[in-house]
Symmetry: C2
Subunit: 407 residues, 2 copies
């Protein structure tokens, strides 16, 4: 039993959330401060950016999550709190303000920020807004939705999802919110993604399953090849589903892993589809590889190719750019074994077999490339391993959005 | 004595060239077939793409250049002759047709192609055009110019240059033509670049100096991170300057190396500045590094960052994207030592010291970023090594050009 449900981070038992406009940046009217809190202490695990330049909230969370316990997440948009005056002090102040407003210990609070790098955070606005935010916390769907809106930057759609599975006869819920858009090329973590669950599971097992799932989902998407300073993927598990604690290697572990994989795949796909300026979700399925690792490297090279991305924007079946991107991936392979097809809207067209171009129906290719999701199917014909990666097209709007982001 | 001169590939003694429209693609009016030939046999050396998928002319040239001797280069635009039906056979036919028209041995001819991948080459048009092209060969400047035009694809300006140096009291000339524009992220070679010289130098020494110079010039530029299937950098040296042959480790070697470096730096900068859709040349100077290799890795990460490129397009001094790109370069460093400044038009403005943002004069920054060449000065403050890399901004026109390149 694995099914989708509504409610995002408030879908699981015992979680409340909300988001407000705390006026962190003058003149902005969207929500910019999100709070998620559990009624009881949670097992906590997090994965963070591998960027050598880490934002202050990331550095603080890496410390905080070490004890494997937490109850709340406070996060803002509009400012990355990275490479800025007093950045670490302000991350601490943010953590402290949330703890005081909630009446819990400071080391039970995780902190996140997203937005422009290098500008001093308006911490006073956050401190001022927190009591009001705590008053508004709710376990209703609206709580998750307002929180999801508060972490958006250039995202055009809110991203939340929840799934229900059954573990030892108990219904276990997992839900999450995320934001993506630009500077998306996650490596070990991703742009902000917060997941809550009522599953009983210890923090070591939780971290293990989170890492496994992240490697197959958020670590397989790219919008622009830029790995952010603020990537954070955090999960809180409060045990209120009352299941027997999930143990590594058990059947329950597999069930929980499948449910989390479903949730994270869904959120990762939405992040890729809503990449800055994107008009198409690009799904690259690489089959027939010697290893899954190689399939991922090849797939990420394709979804990261500016030329392939621009071709999909123009609905141009320019598969030469796909085989070129496979070629510079760093992987060794025989070019004369490669097959390539484009698929979308239930149709498929093969454009290259054995590394050589085929004459193909351009009208049919155009119809396929006009779908919102364009699938690039690659077969290396050298083994049985496969992997799927997700990206988006490169559009005028990406350039427009990023030509003047700070103002 | 090192000075610039005119004449490109026909500047050195004993070289003739020309380019024509051989009608390789229906309805196109630009030159598409270039021929360069030396009056006498040359030492020859070449560097080629590291892309695993290599175009047929690259595979053929790798074989041909092995004996270190050649006399001519035949090259077409409009079709990459890669991953296409009969690609290798057509590369051989192109080599043979040029040899017959010139009355020289087939293994004295190097072959190059650039354009769309995966479409069958119109070899008949090339075979038909060659006798006419041979008739037009000239050692005048116009010969190099017409050849330079014939290898252009989406380039907006023709790229040619020549330099004169003195070796053992003899005047030695080196000249080249190149084309770049898109799919530019050379590794070991670059998009088509052909260099001729009248220097006396054996092919082993020639290859060594070419590699050294390529590593500091063409291997330090990027337009879009896409390493092409057709990258080729070839040099022909016919010895007609009558200097004593240049020996490795000699003073003459250094003089020749400096002259070639000057030529290649100039051509590489022009290729970056004329990247597809580019409005700005971006020069990233990374100083204060532990090693030159590290400085190159850091600099290439900055010039390859889509977000940095889009910010420069928008004249936005968004240095947070620069430090972010340094951070995901894969290099280890202390973020709290990094200084960043923008420079251009003789002005400079420091925007980050010790890894933290400074309040800076936005008007002055805007004025600097409006220059055609924007310099990003990074100091890692950890050593004495430095390197310069070149790229260009990411613009609407890049997306436009690449959204529909095949038609």
């Amino acid at each position: 039993m694995l099914k989708l449900t509504h409610g995002g981070v408030t879908a699981a038992k015992g979680f409340r959330a909300y988001g407000i406009n705390a006026k962190i940046r003058e003149g902005k009217t969207k929500n910019d401060l999100a709070l998620i809190v559990s009624d009881t202490e949670c097992s906590a695990a997090g994965l963070f950016t591998t960027n050598k330049v880490k934002a202050a909230p990331v550095l603080l969370d890496i410390e905080t999550v070490r004890n494997g316990k937490a109850r709340a997440i406070i996060a803002n948009s509009g400012n990355a709190n990275a490479c800025a005056e007093a950045d670490y002090e302000n991350a601490l102040r943010m953590q402290k303000a949330a703890a005081e407003a909630l009446g819990i210990a400071q080391d039970q609070v995780l902190v996140g920020s997203t937005g422009v790098i290098g500008m001093k955070l308006n911490i006073e606005a956050i401190e001022k807004g927190l009591p009001k935010l705590v008053d508004l916390l709710t376990s209703d769907d609206i709580g998750s939705a307002e929180a999801a809106k508060a972490i958006m930057t250039t995202d055009t759609v809110m991203k939340e999802q929840a799934v229900i599975c059954e573990i030892n006869g108990k219904e276990v819920t997992i839900g999450g919110i995320s934001k993506g858009s630009g500077m998306i090329h996650p490596n070990m973590g991703t742009m902000l993604c917060y997941i809550t669950t009522d599953c009983a599971i210890d923090s070591v097992t939780l971290k293990k399953v989170l890492k496994e799932v992240c490697d197959c989902t958020f670590n397989r998407i790219s919008v622009d090849g830029d790995t952010s300073t603020n990537d954070s993927l955090i999960i809180l598990a409060n045990g209120m589903a009352d299941n027997e604690p999930v143990a590594e290697g058990s059947e329950a572990y597999q069930v929980f892993r499948e449910a989390l994989l479903k949730l994270c795949t869904d959120l990762a796909r939405r992040m890729a589809a809503d990449g800055e300026g994107a008009k198409h979700l690009i799904t690259c399925r690489v089959a027939g590889c010697e290893s899954e690792e190689k399939a991922v490297t090849l797939g990420k090279s394709v979804i990261g190719s500016s030329l392939t991305k621009a071709a999909v924007f123009g609905c141009d079946a320019n598969w030469g750019r796909v085989i070129c991107a496979l070629g510079y991936s760093g992987c060794d392979f025989d070019p004369l074994k490669v097959d390539i097809a484009f698929a979308g809207g239930g149709e498929s067209i093969t454009v290259c077999t054995g590394g050589k171009g085929l004459a193909f129906d351009e009208e049919k290719a155009l119809a396929i490339l006009k779908n919102n999701e364009v699938i690039i199917d690659v077969n290396m014909n050298e083994g049985d391993a496969e992997a799927t990666c997700w990206g988006c097209d490169l559009t005028y709007d990406y350039v427009k959005i990023n030509g003047d982001y700070r103002t």
